[in-house]
């Protein structure tokens, strides 16, 4: 894609450090660098990766798979949570932090076993709020079958919001016969989506913006380990890649899969389930539901011959009741995702650039 032509890769000489293109566009961090879109990707590719070195070779996964000296493999992952408000319909920043890392691990095919939790608390945060958040974390860990085993607490001076940041990290073992990732993806594979999109992001957005007509929206935050293990057990080797559709939404996951796999992806726009309240709120704010964050939905790339069987298994699971097959992997327009519109035309689907910007009219 044209995006890549202007990118410089390679090592950085610390003595003559100059920020490689296109980071030079923004001499300081802007919000979009944390939005999960192009700018985030560039920050990782062109600043962190060259600086850190290392061998992890599959950039499009949220967790890394490491061989254990004693044999076997584990997945390892970390994530930070800064959502405001910290308590929202259907969840809190706490259960989000537990489920988020659990899901990052689960998408590698791992069964998460233990998490660490680090809190950065802002002066003025109410203890009652923190207590509620901690309890929700305990409950979420129990449901996800993980233990919260170690942690850290720091307090920083109060800024505007008197809130908190939670960082979780965790690991889990991966069965020997499981290998998931964009490299396993091949033309002809089917694309499975585990349920309706946009609920988490729009629940938060509606609360922030006071959209009363969308007040029934709740976060879809859920641990997906069980669902993933069900899929893997249905037809060994049939599931080729899994991603949870968090920041950047369904569209970002597809774009990353297409780029990572070097294949094209196509899907039917009308096959993607969008709850009416999500569609209304998005239309009102000028957002695209496929770019909105989910916290309990996954996208699976599944061998065509087993797709129906895997779909059936997913639908039998409580977190996958409304799952659908939305499209397929194709051997054209490599690295690019194409949506077939309701009217029968085709359009390119791109990563959101940075944070989503509401339209003005």
């Amino acid at each position: 894609m044209a995006e890549h032509a202007e990118v410089t890769t390679g090592s950085i000489d610390p003595g003559a450090w100059s920020c490689p293109l296109p980071l030079r566009d923004h001499p300081r961090i802007v919000t979009g660098h944390g939005g999960g879109g192009r700018l985030s990707q560039e920050l990782i590719e062109h600043l962190f990766r060259p600086a850190f070195g290392g061998t992890a070779d599959d950039p499009s996964h949220d967790s890394v798979v490491l061989p254990m000296p004693t044999g076997g493999r584990i997945a390892f992952s970390t994530d930070s949570y800064v959502v405001t408000p910290v308590i929202f319909p259907g969840g809190t920043i706490g259960d989000l932090a537990v489920n988020g890392t659990v899901n990052d691990l689960a998408m590698s095919g791992a069964v998460p076993s233990a998490l660490s939790v680090a809190f950065i608390l802002e002066e003025g945060l109410e203890l009652a709020t923190l207590g509620l958040i901690a309890e929700s974390m305990g409950r979420a860990a129990e449901v996800a079958g993980v233990q919260l085993v170690t942690g850290d607490t720091k307090v920083v001076e109060a800024r505007e919001r008197g809130g908190l940041t939670i960082t979780t990290a965790g690991f889990g073992a991966i069965a020997d016969d499981v290998t998931l990732g964009p490299r396993q993806v091949r033309p002809g594979d089917k694309i499975l989506l585990s349920g309706p999109i946009g609920e988490h992001g729009m629940a938060i957005m509606s609360l922030r913006e006071g959209l009363e007509f969308a007040s029934e929206l709740r976060t879809d935050s859920a641990p997906l380990t069980g669902l993933v293990q069900t899929m893997l057990a249905t037809a060994p080797g049939a599931v080729h890649a899994l991603r949870d559709a968090t920041r950047g939404g369904f569209a970002a996951v597809l774009c990353e899969l297409a780029e990572g796999a070097g294949t094209g992806l196509e899907y039917d726009e009308r096959a993607v389930p969008v709850p009416e309240a999500v569609a209304s709120a998005c239309s009102f704010l000028g957002l695209d539901p496929t770019h909105v964050a989910n916290e309990g939905k996954l996208v699976g790339v599944v061998a065509a011959e087993h797709a129906e069987a895997v779909l059936e298994a997913v639908r039998a699971h409580p977190y996958g009741r409304d799952a659908v097959l939305v499209g397929e992997v194709v051997d054209e327009h490599h690295g690019i995702v194409v949506a077939r519109t309701g009217l029968g035309a085709k359009r390119v689907v791109d990563l959101p650039l940075g944070e989503q910007l509401p339209r003005i009219c």
């Binding site: 894609m1 044209a2 995006e3 296109p22 566009d25 923004h26 001499p27 300081r28 961090i29 802007v30 919000t31 979009g32 192009r38 700018l39 913006e209 007509f213 009308r270 009416e276 569609a279 209304s280 239309s283 009102f284 704010l285 000028g286 327009h333 690019i336 194409v338 519109t341 309701g342 009217l343 029968g344 035309a345 085709k346 359009r347 390119v348 791109d350 650039l353 989503q356 910007l357 509401p358 339209r359 003005i360 009219c361």
Partner: protein, 367 residues
């Protein structure tokens, strides 16, 4: 809120495409005036599915795109002040000024906030009496009533630390400017539905009469757009030029009287520069004499601006329908949504951004 799916029904759309294919006997060029319509057309692929003889020309109706560079630079200068909280709709944050954009002002420590309603800026002004709070009031007639109400509300609450940087633009003078151009290619216009919800349709009668072109008031969902296109083509094929309302569920002939009343009180018509196009006489609104004390243009001395447009950007030609976005040499190479040369590559309603986002494949294949 219903009526999203209903106006996106593939079977009904197919019937409309068939009806259009049947009635067209020769080439016609229609201009959709509003950027919201451009977005809907390109996103849904409506232009790909129309008969080859029907050409859609994308009009100048993206308020973000036409806000003059000098105004953007003024906004940036105000937003960079230590004593100021600058409030804007999200679209404006990435629009390039001569040297910066609001995102960068923010990352350099400027207090720039995205609001969804201009009234949020009034609330912020109340919460921060020690700061100057400025709202960037841009847009067509559609967004103007909310901005006008905000100014009235700030006055009612006697807020001395609130002001608005106003750069409103008006649709009818823009249509007149395009239609009077000797090399105009446009056979008929799809007028912007939501502008007419506020202003009514009476302003368009003189344009139909003066230029002898059909004008069809049109909505935004795919079936709305198709109905507007079909009605314009029926008129053209019949040799008629009339004003028609194809969006009656949202537009009444007289518009919204309450909104028009407050608009008349708060704003006065002025000449306005349109980015990429130039000055169009009597094509903008500024705050009226009675509200001048709330006008950020007067409150802040902004001088020493070095306004500098990219010499490579051809957005003016795009906005006037002279070229398609992908006919610009910079499209998708030196100019992308991440590094836009002009505002048409920034806003989701900008024609260049819509082409880049949804049509990159065609462009890749053409190259």
């Amino acid at each position: 809120m219903r009526y999203l799916d209903e106006f996106n029904d593939p079977a009904l759309a197919r019937r409309q495409f068939d009806a259009i294919a049947e009635l067209v006997t020769r080439p016609w060029a229609l201009m959709e005036v509003c950027g919201g319509q451009t977005h809907s057309i390109v996103r849904n692929g409506i232009d790909q599915l129309l008969p080859d003889q029907v050409r859609l020309i994308h009009g100048p109706g993206c308020p973000v795109c036409v806000t003059p560079l000098e105004t953007i630079d003024k906004a940036l200068a105000i937003a960079a002040r230590d004593d100021t909280i600058f409030c804007s709709f999200g679209d404006m944050l990435r629009v390039p000024g001569s040297h910066d954009d609001l995102f960068r002002i923010r990352s350099n420590g400027g207090d720039v906030r995205v609001v969804y309603s201009p009234l949020d800026a009034v609330r912020i002004a109340e919460e921060h009496p020690d700061k100057q709070v400025v709202f960037f009031g841009i847009g067509f007639e559609t967004t103007a009533p909310a901005n006008a109400m905000t100014v009235v509300e700030a006055r009612r609450r006697s807020l001395t630390n609130f002001s608005m940087l106003v750069s409103h633009v008006l649709v009818p003078p823009a249509i007149a400017a395009i239609a009077s151009s000797p090399d105009s290619l446009v056979d008929a216009y799809l007028a912007a539905g939501h502008v007419c919800t506020v202003m009514g349709t009476e302003q368009y009668d003189p344009l139909v009469e003066r230029f002898g072109v059909p004008i069809v008031v049109t909505g935004f969902e795919p079936l709305d757009v198709l109905e507007g296109i079909r009605r314009a083509l029926v008129q053209l094929e019949d040799g008629r030029a009339e004003l028609e309302n194809a969006y009656p569920r949202a537009v009444a002939r007289t518009g919204n009287a309450a909104a028009q009343k407050v608009l008349a009180e708060v704003f006065e018509v002025c000449d306005r520069a349109w980015r990429g196009i130039g000055v169009i006489p009597q094509s903008g609104w500024r705050l009226s004499e009675a509200y001048r004390d709330l006008d950020a243009e007067y409150r802040f001395e902004v001088s020493d601006l070095h306004v500098e447009e990219s010499p490579l950007c051809r957005s003016g030609e795009v906005l006037q329908g002279r070229i398609r976005p992908n006919q610009c040499e910079q499209f998708g190479t030196t100019c992308t949504p991440r590094r836009p040369l002009g505002a048409t590559m920034v806003s989701s309603e900008g024609a260049c951004a819509a082409y880049y986002q949804y049509r990159r494949l065609d462009v890749v294949q053409e190259v």
